[in-house]
């Protein structure tokens, strides 16, 4: 174990990839695991996990969504973990929300107990398992100082707009650890991704739309709205001088990629900014090849840019 590990308990955590990381977000899964391995961090995947309900199940009924997350948390507890890491903003958000609702809402608690009983597994009680995002994981387990020491291939010269989206910080009440001053994450101006990429040598641009919405909930059902929202994210990043938008959510990432192409084909508005997962960028900074972090799997083709910057 490296000496300056900030929170040694995070060296080995339960891992909840979620459905998107087994599908369109495969490159995020691959690069997250590769970065973890490179940094000497262990991920143990939850056994028999289920979908968190994403943005959809809550519209049928929010208590079912709480149950879906509670089932995953109870699996983590069964496996002997007190921390579960979810790289997808949707999964992360839903696990956090379940944690909050089970502690504060009698209705969710009652439905969770009933469904867990009928499904034949332990009823998760709040307070047993902490949910963290992949950003928390690297930041808290490794930290910027140690990370910068491990960089083999600096991201120097790469201008990055860091994009966090909605589910990472809203609504505020489900993230009690945020907005706690020095060292904690901010819900209005998040910076964990900025911190990590800066430690890897990147030049972060001052991006005003860090927590703006990409329309991910309606990426297919109201494509015109999503395209407008994404186009605004892309053109603003370009206006800020960014070469790359770094993402930390498979839904945001795919939405940005899809609607970048759609904006060009449907609205005739072409943008050149590239879209990469922050784990892909960190992986390349740690000396991994572009292939090892799944750059080829992205719809957004960043190969020429990465070559120009001497990365991958």
């Amino acid at each position: 174990m490296p000496k300056d590990l900030k929170d040694p308990s995070l060296k080995k955590v339960a891992y909840y990839p979620g459905c998107a990381l087994e599908g369109t977000g495969h490159a995020y899964n691959k690069s997250t695991k590769a970065v973890g391995k490179e940094l000497g961090l262990d991920l143990v995947e939850l056994k028999n996990w289920n979908c968190c309900g994403a943005m959809e199940v809550k519209n049928i009924d929010p208590n079912i969504q709480t149950y879906l997350s509670a089932r995953n948390l109870s699996i983590a507890e069964d496996m002997g973990f007190d921390t579960v890491m979810a790289p997808c903003n949707g999964c992360y958000h839903n696990l956090k929300k379940a944690e909050y609702d089970l502690a504060n809402d009698e209705g969710s608690k009652e439905v969770n107990a009933r469904l867990s009983g009928k499904a034949g597994h332990a009823t998760y009680a709040p307070g047993k398992v902490e949910t963290i995002h992949s950003l928390d994981w690297i930041k808290r387990a490794i930290g910027e100082e140690e990370l910068s020491k491990r960089v083999k291939n600096s991201l120097k010269g790469l201008k990055i707009a860091n994009y966090y989206g909605c589910m990472y910080s809203r609504p505020r009440h489900i993230f009690p650890e945020k907005d706690k001053g020095e060292g904690s994450e901010s819900t209005s101006k998040p910076h964990f991704m900025d911190d990590l990429l800066a430690a890897a040598g990147a030049e972060n641009v001052d991006y005003p739309l860090k927590t703006a919405c990409c329309g991910g909930a309606h990426t297919l059902s109201d494509s015109d709205t999503s395209t407008k929202l994404v186009l605004n994210l892309l053109t603003t990043a370009e206006a800020c001088g960014a070469d790359v938008i770094a993402t930390e959510c498979p839904t945001c990432h795919t939405g940005l990629e899809m609607h970048q192409i759609r904006a060009e084909k449907v609205l005739g508005r072409k943008t050149n900014v590239k879209i990469l997962y922050f784990t892909q960028l960190l992986g390349m900074a740690l000396g991994l090849s572009a292939g090892k972090v799944g750059v080829n799997e992205n719809f957004s083709d960043s190969r020429a840019l990465l070559k120009e910057k001497g990365l991958g």
């Binding site: 459905c19 979908c51 309900g53 009933r114």
Partner: protein, 248 residues
Amino acid sequence: MPIHEKTLIRPENLVTHEHLEIDGVDVSGHWSTFIESRAVTDYNENLQEEISALAGGENIHRCWQCGSCTNACTVNAINPDFNPRYWIYLIRMGMEEELLRDKDIIWQCVSCNKCTYACPRDVVPEGVMKATAHWLELKGHTPESPSTIFDDGFSQQVFDTGKIEDSRVMRGFFKGTGQSLTQPWLVAMVTGLIKRFPLFYLIRMGWQTVFRPKTRGWGRASRAIHEYVEEVEAANRAALGLDAKGAK
């Protein structure tokens, strides 16, 4: 801004006179006739109660009309008619007819929770938008929106197998809404990727189509969820005074 800003300046209330003089004053041009139609008599006294009976609408009574939600709203920035503060007002007043004028756009809320973040009264306007969209469909005022079709398809997969597979969700949605999978932008997206990375992509798509991802041992959870959904749907219909089938 006065609460009634929208009602007063609707296009249908505008009249145009090329040459009109009243009491010696030239009033030619466009002007609003709102003063003629001010009285509202068709209140639905139960509207707030009905919306708050549906998931997400529980806190609507707390709203004090500050407008922070609309000010922060993602969709309002691209469509000024999308006005959560105003709809909450109409619901609380029971002005159903007025609300129905916007029935075709309420579902467009993207659940970004900017409103919830900004609201000083913990109304959770995002939830109110979802409850209102749900209410419109249950009452038969609107057909199922593309969003509902997507949510239903997605959720059924989760309830049945415990997991989703995105290409299946996508195909189901395009089929359910009668859209073509060969829209030029979709084709451009997929072919761009296949050109660079043919084998991986095709194998993965093929693999996931044949071997649907599933959560092992999901059967009992699936049955429990399906039972609960029926219960919730019956309770929703009862709260809205609809018969067992509801108005669809």
